[in-house]
């Protein structure tokens, strides 16, 4: 039992890979390196896939157009006409979180199991939400919108600015970490064949659902911020 616990804690730990030797050493953790790797993968993939686009599409381009069109329609249905300018960001976040959650399949760990990664994503989301509100309504009407529908619930509306990113961040982190812990336990206890069906649920299904939920909630909040 002792070795089991130690092994589990060891696998849950997020190690420091190296330190940037300025300002007294900035530690760079595994999750940061993994995020960079995923970003590089996505950027490279995007560059390779959009080379030589033609007016009459080939097979590859047709599949790509269907995928991009599907994502575009999904977000436009959520955010409406006015939210169109935020679609590229939302699609990028969806791709990043989706890839991060699925990366456990190839033997790495999902960087979203690090609280700092999800906290960063959630802070970016809330900044975008409030920015969308200010850009759409103007600063004055944005401030006024805190007092809607009645002035007495203004404190709750202000609190929401902090609660929304907290819950976005904790939801993604908790789900991924939970799935990860269960998977690691199973892998230690029964490494042969047993993890395969569980991996379908915890790695693929849960990861994709959480991606969906994250971008769905963010775009619903944006929609709420930009509508009158």
């Amino acid at each position: 039992m002792e070795t089991f616990t130690e092994e589990l804690l060891n696998r849950m730990n997020i190690r420091t890979v190296f330190e940037i030797p300025i300002l007294g050493g900035i530690p760079v953790t595994e999750s940061v390196v993994l995020s960079w790797g995923i970003m590089a993968f996505l950027v490279l993939g995007s560059i390779i896939l959009v080379r030589n686009l033609k007016i009459i599409p080939g097979k590859k381009q047709l599949a790509l157009e269907i995928a991009v069109g599907g994502i575009w329609d999904f977000f436009e249905g959520l955010m409406g006409e006015r939210g169109r300018r935020y679609i590229p960001y939302m699609a990028t976040v969806a791709l990043f979180i989706g890839t991060s959650n699925l990366v456990g399949l190839v033997g790495l760990f999902p960087p979203t199991k690090d609280l700092n990664v999800t906290a960063g994503l959630a802070v970016m989301s809330i900044v975008l939400i409030e920015f969308a509100g200010i850009a759409q309504k103007g600063p004055k009407r944005w401030l006024k919108s805190f007092a809607e529908p009645m002035p007495i619930i203004a404190p709750i509306n202000v609190m929401e600015i902090f609660i929304r990113p907290l819950s976005l961040c904790m939801r993604l982190f908790g789900n991924i970490l939970g799935g990860f812990v269960v998977m690691e336990m199973v892998k230690i206890a029964a490494p042969l064949l047993v993890p395969i069906p569980l991996s379908f649920y915890f790695d693929i299904f849960d990861g994709l659902i959480q991606t969906y939920v994250f971008v769905l909630l963010t775009s619903l909040f944006i929609k709420e911020a930009i509508e009158d």
Partner: protein, 74 residues
């Protein structure tokens, strides 16, 4: 001390009760709604997923608190 930590973590995870009941009710109503109006399935399942995500958050908070209790109180 270890026993107390274990009990505390167990109590924190009990938040899952509420989320389970809530998601169960939501799903049963959603199935009824789809049975009544199969053409509205897309909209219903979108709202169901949203509601489940929000209801599930409480369970996740409990889980995170339990993990923190175990990790930091040792």
């Amino acid at each position: 001390m270890t026993t107390l930590i274990a009990i505390g973590a167990g109590i924190a995870v009990l938040t899952g009760l509420g989320a389970g009941i809530g998601i169960g009710i939501a799903t049963s109503r959603a199935t009824e709604a789809i049975a009544r109006q199969p053409e509205a399935e897309g909209k219903i399942s979108k709202n169901l997923l949203l509601g489940c995500a929000l209801a599930e958050a409480t369970a996740i908070y409990g889980f995170v608190v339990a993990i923190m209790i175990i990790m930091f109180l040792k």
